[in-house]
């Protein structure tokens, strides 16, 4: 649709440009024979006023006529995204009413119109997946709606497109467009509680207070301040789209988050023994 609009406007612009150039050429060649007042006035009226008005009107009607289809409502999947310094809280509401909370990663079924409800918790952020559509501001206290219809599968990158603080440039997310059947399978897996709810890492996660801010479904950790981590290892990236997702990086993130993401609300836990953070990281790295 956008491509059609682009091509129509481009061709119309090219035709107008060509006509102007031909007229200019014609005018420069006719220097010898002066125009009569009457024909000059007629040329100005038709060439300078009436024709441009009609062309503009036709292009305007064409462009406005596309608007209803470009902004059609979604097919049923609803994704609430809340921007926070410096990550994304994401909640899916499926067409059947079930809901699912995750963070820093958006998965979409191909060929369906998914509706985003965008807001922010602290300052203005902006939600932008350049490969899929235009950006939309996320404003505290207001909700903006954006509908996207991905046409092919693949992994894309989304970013925060409104300066939101010292780690603004480190606020991104990964986007995966999947076949609808794969998406349903992913949803089913994501709805399940954590794969390994017990173990040394899980016990340390609770003992060191991580559960006060983070949720891992299936364990006692039910904090709502930071990103939800139930299936952390299944995500494509770590730290809101900036780092590879493996146990070693999770360990480093836990110890040095204040270095990796200046201004983030989570403090670095470098004061914990290295063996403890490694155990927590290993456990989180196993949560597929």
């Amino acid at each position: 649709m956008v491509a059609r609009l682009f091509w129509v406007m481009l061709v119309a612009g090219a035709v107008i440009w060509l006509a102007m150039m031909l007229l200019a050429l014609h005018a420069s060649r006719r220097r010898q024979a002066p125009w009569s007042d009457r024909s000059a006035a007629r040329l100005i009226l038709w060439g300078g006023a009436v024709t441009p008005t009609l062309i503009l009107a036709a292009l305007l009607v064409f462009g406005l006529g596309l608007m209803p289809t470009l902004r059609a409502p979604g097919d049923g999947l609803r994704i609430e995204v809340q921007g926070e310094q410096f990550w994304w809280r994401i909640r899916y509401t499926l067409p059947d009413g079930r809901s699912l909370t995750t963070a820093n990663e958006v998965r979409l079924p191909r060929g369906q119109r998914s509706e985003f409800l965008l807001t922010a918790q602290d300052v203005i952020h902006s939600f932008w997946i350049p490969a899929l559509g235009g950006k939309m501001d996320m404003i505290p206290g207001a909700t903006n709606r954006l509908v996207l219809e991905p046409e092919r599968t693949g992994q894309f990158r989304g970013v925060c497109a409104e300066f939101c603080g010292s780690s603004h440039a480190l606020m991104a997310f990964s986007v995966e467009v999947m076949e609808p059947a794969d998406f349903d399978a992913w949803v089913a897996a994501e709805l399940a509680p954590a794969a390994t709810p017990r173990g040394e890492g899980a016990a340390l996660f609770m003992a060191r207070g991580c559960g006060a801010c983070h949720t891992v479904r299936g364990t006692a950790a039910a904090g709502r301040i930071g990103p939800e981590l139930t299936h952390l290892a299944g995500r494509h990236s770590l730290g809101a789209g900036i780092l590879p997702n493996d146990a070693a990086t999770i360990d480093r993130f836990i110890r040095e988050v204040n270095v990796i993401k200046p201004g983030a609300r989570m403090p670095g836990f470098a004061m914990l023994p290295a063996a403890e953070t490694a155990a927590i990281a290993a456990w989180l790295g196993s949560l597929r």
Partner: protein, 134 residues
């Protein structure tokens, strides 16, 4: 004031068509904003999947406002045509005489009327090409 018919051209008659244009612009926005705000969808917390509000009275109101605006502009143009002397005098009306001042103002008003006429139509167009309040 601006809208009173005058025997002689002055700055007020010159300002009439663009003033009508500006007023019509504001009118269209206010009509659509009021209708869409009252139609029941919360702007701060919209429900997902909720249909957008219908345009309701926006189209008839914009159509009526546009008809009035176009009529006023035509009246202004007709008056301006009279001030130019009915097209009997050659351009460019730049002699330092009261008569040419009249013709110059009339001619400028006439051109402004044409511009305002087209603009009013362009401003009204979206109301008839969009589907609802989205």
């Amino acid at each position: 004031m601006v809208l009173r018919l005058r025997d002689r051209a002055d700055l007020w008659t010159l300002l009439m068509p663009p003033t009508v244009w500006a007023t019509h612009f504001l009118y269209c926005y206010v009509v659509a904003a009021v209708q869409c705000a009252k139609a029941g969808i919360s702007l701060t917390a919209p429900e997902g999947g909720q249909a957008f509000a219908a345009l309701g009275m926006v189209r008839p109101l914009v159509a009526a406002g546009t008809a009035v605006a176009l009529l006023l502009i035509v009246i202004g143009a007709r008056q301006a045509w009279r001030h130019t002397g009915g097209g009997f005098h050659d351009l460019p009306h730049d002699a330092a005489t009261p008569e040419d001042r009249q013709r110059f103002l009339g001619y400028a008003t006439l051109l402004l009327s044409a511009l305002s006429f087209v603009s009013v139509i362009f401003i009204a167009l979206p109301a008839f090409l969009i589907r609802d309040c989205r």
